[in-house]
């Protein structure tokens, strides 16, 4: 144990490890906050859909040789998030089908573009790292870390300021609308925030595993807690703890960062399920 702590202390002396921890924790925090809302609104897979959009956007940015692909990826993803949440209200294409359509097609387009125009010698390696997260969290620059800190502060501030509105809109959209709440505006806000989080999170876990970061903490917390506030707080804390553990384990054991975090999230979820089962058995 003490050997492990020493190893971790040794690693913490490197700035890139500290950057990775800061960014990892912030992204885990942000993605867990809206997780509860997205799961309850039956938008669990919006993370998946949007991350594929971001993947395609990154491929386009690569083809166009844009210096900073974030500037291109972010607006495209936000636009698609808005379209998706709009489609959720449209009766012709239901939310889940719309997400499936966008998710699959952007994935295909992204891969096609990479294949046709790629300048890199290791194409499948590139694709793999975009999908499953790469070592890019360990190669963050100071600017990227500050950008991530800034955006995270904005996301958390928005969430706290609009907490009661988000609750009202999530629990009963029709009631909220009939009592004069601007439901469309808040749905739009949720869409934009979620798109920002996803583009940020792609650096950490890659596009395939973003859904896990959004869904797992919320699902685990909902197993055990009864009020919206306690579920939200628990999922935020849980997500941060899992991300922190995951990053440290992956550094010490040199496993892939994204997969390690998700595996730990899964273990936490199973523990919470077990707790819930034991509790209800005891009550009976």
């Amino acid at each position: 144990m003490s050997a492990m702590i020493e190893t971790i202390q040794m690693y913490l002396q490197f700035p890139f490890v500290r950057y990775a921890l800061i960014v990892g924790v912030l992204i885990a925090l942000c993605s867990s906050l809206l997780g509860v809302t997205l799961v309850l609104k039956r938008f669990s897979f919006i993370g998946d859909g949007l991350s594929h959009v971001a993947f395609a956007a990154m491929a386009v940015a690569g083809v166009l040789h844009l210096a900073d692909d974030m500037l291109f990826t972010m607006p495209v993803t936000i636009l698609c998030a808005i379209l998706l949440l709009r489609a959720g209200q449209n009766s012709r294409i239901k939310g889940d089908a719309a997400i499936a359509l966008i998710s699959v097609s952007t994935m295909a387009i992204g891969y096609l573009l990479l294949n046709l125009f790629s300048t890199s010698a290791n194409l499948s390696g590139d694709v793999c790292s975009t999908l499953f997260g790469s070592t890019s969290i360990l190669t963050l620059s100071q600017t990227e870390v500050w950008l991530c800190i800034g955006l995270s502060i904005v996301v958390v501030a928005i969430f706290i300021l609009f907490y009661n509105k988000i609750f009202a809109v999530t629990f009963d959209e029709n009631f909220a609308r009939s009592s004069g709440t601007r439901v469309e505006a808040y749905n739009l806000l949720i869409a934009v925030v979620i798109a920002v989080i996803i583009v940020l999170a792609m650096n950490l876990v890659g596009s395939l595993l973003i859904s896990a970061l959004i869904i797992f903490p919320a699902m685990s917390a909902m197993r055990v807690f009864k009020s919206f506030k306690s579920v939200t707080i628990c999922s935020a804390v849980l997500s941060v703890v899992c991300a922190l553990t995951g990053i440290l384990v992956s550094i010490v054991q040199s496993t892939p960062v994204g997969s390690t975090i998700v595996a730990i999230d899964l273990v936490a979820f199973l523990l919470f399920c077990l707790f819930d089962a034991v509790r209800s058995a005891v009550r009976k």
Binding site: V36, L40, K41, R42, S91, I160, L161, F162, Y163, N164, K165, F167, A168, T170, F171, D172, N174, F175, A176, R177, S178, S179, G180, T181, A221, M222, F225, K226, S227, F228, K229, V231
Partner: protein, 237 residues
């Protein structure tokens, strides 16, 4: 002036008209029941009054100092709500959302109002319980308390007793009657025609033939007596 006046209203969705020439008006303190066959447009009418859907023609006018966001709504329960992790307190308080306006958090006045309405609907003892663990009747009372936080003037109830057992149904009706006596205007969609003519002072029958008028008149009208007889028969089957 009437609290709510609906004139030549055309109902429907996506430009497809399902019902035309809906006319009625209610005053403060009225108890209006909307009856009619399934699919006749009752729920669409309610959603249009609430502003959840645009009218395809005609007009809906609020009067008597009532603004269109001062309408309390008791919707039919949705799937989302059945597994929503929220306490009774959080849900009732969310009814005050319209009063908070641009402010991010609830103040003392909103919390006092929520407590008062929980007392009124006798759900205070459940304040910290999880909504999804309550019985159907208790859940409806929680949602009524929330609706009362949004308004003291006009309540729209969409089949408030659907899925409740007879004893709880009777309790629910007497709660609604009590609110009506306290001066709250009630508009209720009901499949329970017996209860409708028992409690309401006005009836709106939506269907191929329309009827709007006092309950007594409805009982003796051609459409009313036929509908009462049909529905009565069904219940005895």
């Amino acid at each position: 002036m009437a609290q709510l006046t609906v004139k030549d209203l055309a109902l429907g969705y996506e430009g497809h008209v399902i019902r035309q020439n809906v006319n009625f008006s209610i005053d403060q303190g009225d108890y209006l029941c909307i009856v009619g066959e399934n699919g006749s447009g009752k729920s669409t009418l309610m959603k249009t009054i609430l502003g959840l859907q645009k009218p395809l023609g005609g007009s809906i006018a609020f009067g008597d100092g009532l603004r269109n966001n001062e309408v309390g709504y008791l919707p039919q329960q949705t799937q989302v709500q059945r597994d929503f992790p929220a306490t009774v307190w959080e849900i009732v308080l969310s009814g005050c959302q319209a009063r908070v306006g641009g402010r991010p958090f609830y103040g003392k006045a909103e919390k006092a109002l929520a407590r008062q309405n929980m007392e009124r609907m006798r759900v205070t003892q459940f304040a910290n319980r999880c909504y999804r663990e309550l019985s159907g009747g208790q859940q409806q009372r929680v949602l009524l308390a929330r609706a009362l936080c949004a308004t003291q003037k006009l309540l729209l109830l969409d089949e408030p007793v659907a899925g409740l057992d007879p004893k709880v149904t009777a309790e629910m009706y007497s709660l609604i009657e009590q609110l009506n006596r306290e001066g709250v205007t009630i508009i209720m969609i009901s499949h329970d025609i017996g209860a409708a003519v028992h409690y309401a002072n006005k009836i709106l029958h939506v269907g191929a033939t329309m009827f709007f008028g006092p309950t007594e008149e409805y009982r003796h009208s051609a459409i009313g007596s036929r509908f009462l007889a049909e529905e009565g028969d069904e219940r005895h089957d």
